[in-house]
């Protein structure tokens, strides 16, 4: 087994005086897909936001490659990709402009790679249409196009299967699996019936300890 990318030790989070989870410990190894499971309100999104560093209301320890995340925040952020409920797409900008803006602070990406990624998500012909004229599923696909140019080893994907059609779901499942085969680590929450071979599961309880 290789060294875990991300390690959580004794995570505890309370929201609105309700214990979402406590004594939650797990490791994310390279080359794995982990599905975070649990009923609505069990804290799946909260857990992913905590891991991404967007939520500060928790106790415990988070380690990136063996060292606390807090001490190497920029290195961690550079190697982590988070896709949230909100797709991070500006309705007034075109898919190409959106993608370019999202990559701007991370690393230089050639325009050819961007348009290839958009083609890969089935947005051929929509590259220069403002995103507000696209359907919800297409907007989602713009956000997903980022996965095709992503080089981050750790992906945190929150409800990525929302609003995607059957073909898109299949392609995305294949992408996640391929990503794991390449050595990336994927943490995903979904209500879609996702069952990949060798998939890990992380189950959160309904308001109690897992």
């Amino acid at each position: 087994m290789s060294e875990p990318l991300l390690q959580a030790v004794n995570l505890q989070c309370e929201r609105d005086k309700r214990m979402l989870f406590r004594e939650l410990s797990f490791s994310i190894l390279p080359g794995t897909v982990t599905r975070v499971e649990g009923p609505n309100g069990s804290g799946k999104t909260t857990l992913l936001r905590i891991l991404a560093g967007l939520n500060d209301a928790w106790t415990g320890e988070l380690k990136w490659c063996g060292t606390p995340v807090a001490s190497q925040r920029e290195a961690f952020l550079r190697n982590m990709l988070y896709l949230g409920h909100r797709p991070g797409i500006k309705p007034l900008l075109t898919p190409t402009e959106n993608l370019r803006a999202l990559m701007a602070g991370r690393r230089p990406v050639a325009d050819a790679a961007l348009s290839q990624a958009l083609q890969g998500t089935g947005l051929t012909g929509y590259e220069n249409v403002p995103c507000r004229n696209l359907s919800a599923g297409q907007q989602r696909r713009v956000a997903l196009a980022r996965l095709l140019v992503a080089d981050e080893p750790l992906w945190l994907l929150d409800e990525v299967f929302t609003a995607i059609d059957a073909d898109g779901v299949k392609a995305l499942e294949a992408l996640l699996q391929q990503r794991a085969a390449e050595g990336g680590a994927v943490l995903v929450t979904t209500h879609h019936d996702l069952a990949l071979p060798g998939m890990h599961r992380l189950t959160l309880g309904a308001g109690g300890a897992p």
């Binding site: 550079r78 803006a101 050595g183």
Partner: protein, 241 residues
């Protein structure tokens, strides 16, 4: 979704330079703003309306206007900036681009500085450009107009920078407008006093060097401290979202 273009998995240690990242943030904000031009006009229109209504509502006398004109323009500019502040982070918060901004492997305060500069160029700078026209309308003399423009040029970035703190703090709230004003206006008062004071001193023929130096100090203080405060406030607001 084929994945031919994807590079292989490895731990990356370097990202793009911070200037390139700031440029990216700035360019996107400008592009979004110019796709929605009517929103750009709102603060300008408000500015023009307030200044136009004063002569009608109070007195069109030249003596009154030339004395109160600088103050009217400054207050109108201040309120106009205040009105535009809620948009600074709100849309980005709603569509999720703010989360992605915070997650960029860059110092957040510099990205926020880039956003604030874009905000100023879209609200404060047009006000400064429009000021000579409105200055003539309220019978200010040439020298006063020049000084007024200069104080607004130094003062409006301070308004945007301080406003960014308030906008970031009130982001998670549903009705942030009133609270934002209550938080921010006390911090705007020194800028207003010295802004109008400079013009008054110039009208009396006194030297304005000291006033301008003080306003420059305000700007430097805001430039260096406000982005840090706004970044911290933004993290708190996102954490509670």
């Amino acid at each position: 979704m084929n994945a031919e273009v994807r590079p292989a998995v490895r731990l990356a240690s370097s990202s793009v330079g911070v200037l390139a990242a700031m440029k990216g943030v700035f360019a996107r904000d400008m592009r979004v703003a110019f796709r929605q031009r009517q929103d750009l006009l709102n603060p300008l229109l408000f500015f023009v309306m307030v200044v136009t209504l004063f002569p009608l509502g109070v007195s069109p006398e030249v003596s009154f206007l030339s004395e109160a004109g600088a103050g009217i323009l400054w207050v109108a500019a201040l309120l106009s900036v205040l009105l535009s502040l809620d948009h600074l982070f709100r849309h980005d918060f709603d569509d999720g681009t703010l989360e992605q901004l915070v997650l960029q492997p860059q110092p957040l305060f510099l990205l926020i500085l880039a956003k604030t500069i874009a905000h100023w160029m879209l609200t404060g700078l047009p006000l400064v450009i429009l000021t000579p026209v409105l200055g003539v309308m309220v019978h200010l003399d040439g020298n006063s107009i020049a000084i007024l423009c200069l104080t607004l040029l130094i003062g409006t970035p301070v308004l945007s920078l301080i406003g960014a703190i308030g906008a970031a703090l009130t982001l998670g709230l549903r009705s942030a407008g009133v609270l934002l004003s209550l938080l921010i206006i006390p911090l705007y008062i020194p800028v207003l006093i010295f802004g109008t004071g400079t013009v008054a001193a110039a009208a009396e023929g006194a030297s304005v060097g000291a006033y301008l130096a003080l306003m420059g100090a305000f700007l430097m203080l805001a430039l260096t401290l406000a982005p840090f405060a706004a970044a911290a406030a933004l993290k708190i607001s996102l954490s509670n979202a």
